[in-house]
């Protein structure tokens, strides 16, 4: 899995470096640079071919669209991961709080009902003990 990403990363780095060198050539062009420019253009096309080949290996990879918003705003995409983890933890704690509260409520309710309806609650406890969760 990591090898597929490494392969793609390598091709992209080469492609970006090629484009950067192309930009340097073009920024102050000389007639003698024409051959180099042509070579860089063909390297660019071969780079795109290599990237397209990598696409087939990565068709199962899904990227959340929210990450694209972070990148478009010039923000670090790791912040998205961080915020996902923080939200998951916060939600986990919230649900745990609800479960704990409901458990306490149940035990309080049973104890209070046992005071008011002792016989019925004894039957209820027997029935619940007989029938485990299905």
């Amino acid at each position: 899995m990591a090898e597929k990403f490494d392969n793609l990363e390598e091709h992209l780095e080469k492609f970006i470096e090629n484009i950067r060198q192309l930009g340097i050539i073009v920024s102050d062009f000389q007639p003698s640079s024409q051959a180099g420019l042509n070579q860089k253009l063909n390297f660019m096309i071969s780079g795109l071919q290599d990237v397209e080949k990598c696409r087939q290996q990565l068709h199962e990879i899904n990227v959340p669209l929210e990450v694209f918003e972070y990148i478009d705003q010039g923000r670090n995409p790791q912040l998205y991961t961080k915020e996902c983890l923080e939200r998951a933890l916060a939600r986990n704690e919230q649900v745990k709080g609800k479960i704990d509260t409901m458990t306490k409520f149940k035990s309080l309710l049973i104890s209070e009902l046992s005071k008011v309806f002792p016989e019925d609650m004894a039957k209820y406890k027997v029935m619940r003990a007989e029938d485990p969760p299905s």
Binding site: E13, I16, R20, G23, I24, V26, S27, D28, F29, Q30, P31, Q34, L37, N38, L41, N42, I45, S46, L48, Q49, E52, L65, F68, E69, I71, D72, Q73, G74, R75, N76, P77, Q78, L79, T81, K82, L85, E86, A88, L89, R91, N92, Q94, V95, K96, K98, I99, D100, D120, K123, Y124, M127, R128, D131, P132, P133, S134
Partner: protein, 240 residues
């Protein structure tokens, strides 16, 4: 539906009053009669919840007592981050401070990548909204096609020089005030767009105006034509 209830309670009519049998509070023999007739389990009405218990003596004095739900092993009661082995990831992203800018994530990428993509049309969102034409294969450029890439000699115009420019470094505020008066205007760079130049000029102009006004006021005070002039002033030659 009515046939189901009649088969369940049909044999019980002789035993007790029909009202109590219909409500499910009959004698203890009812479960046996029901067990001897297979295929008469009460079917669930809709899929709203667990299967309703058979109304019978076993549930006395409770009515419509449902079964307890199946207890899942994994609930919000447990720490899901440790369950899914994400502690390392959590410590990595939430324990340390993650830098805000995209250039901190991709330090080797050239150009100004911290600017929003909508400014220069390089947003990923636009790529999703308007996907490029795919399907055609990439073929190398031939000699005839390469003739279109014959460029003029010389440097590019400054407005097109975008590749090698770093974002301007922020100066501290207290230094900025000192350098404002002393240093000449900074050199032009393509990263300094026109609005920034205009802002600098606008910022300078009111200050210049104020200074000019102050100077004028001072001049007017010292001039002989000023009405507020008194004899104590040494420059007033008319009184002498």
């Amino acid at each position: 539906m009515t046939e189901m209830f009649s088969t369940m309670f049909g044999q019980n009519e002789a035993q007790g009053p029909p009202g109590s049998a219909a409500l499910g509070f009959g004698s203890g023999k009812q479960p046996q009669s029901q067990a001897s007739q297979p295929g008469q389990m009460p079917t669930q009405i809709g899929d709203e919840g667990p299967i309703l218990r058979k109304p019978g003596a076993s549930n006395e004095p409770f009515y419509l007592l449902r079964d307890l739900p199946v207890g899942n092993e994994l609930t919000g009661n447990s720490n899901l981050i440790t369950h899914y082995n994400l502690e390392h990831a959590y410590n990595k992203f939430c324990g340390k401070k993650v830098k805000e800018k995209l250039s901190n994530f991709l330090p080797e990428l050239p150009g100004m990548i911290d600017c929003p993509g909508t400014q220069d049309g390089s947003s990923l969102r636009s790529l999703i909204d308007k996907p490029p034409v795919c399907g055609n294969s990439f073929s190398p450029l031939t000699g005839a096609l390469l003739t279109g890439f014959r460029l003029h000699t010389g440097p590019l115009p400054e407005q097109y020089r975008l590749m090698h420019i770093q974002p301007p470094k922020k100066k501290s505020k207290h230094k900025h005030k000192h350098h404002r008066l002393q240093d000449p205007l900074p050199q032009e760079t393509p990263s300094d767009s026109d609005p920034k130049k205009k802002k600098k000029k606008r910022d300078d102009d009111p200050d210049r105006k104020k200074k000019k006004k102050d100077k004028k006021k001072k001049k007017n005070r010292h001039s002989p034509d000023h009405p507020g002039l008194t004899g104590s002033q040494p420059n007033s030659s008319s009184l002498r």
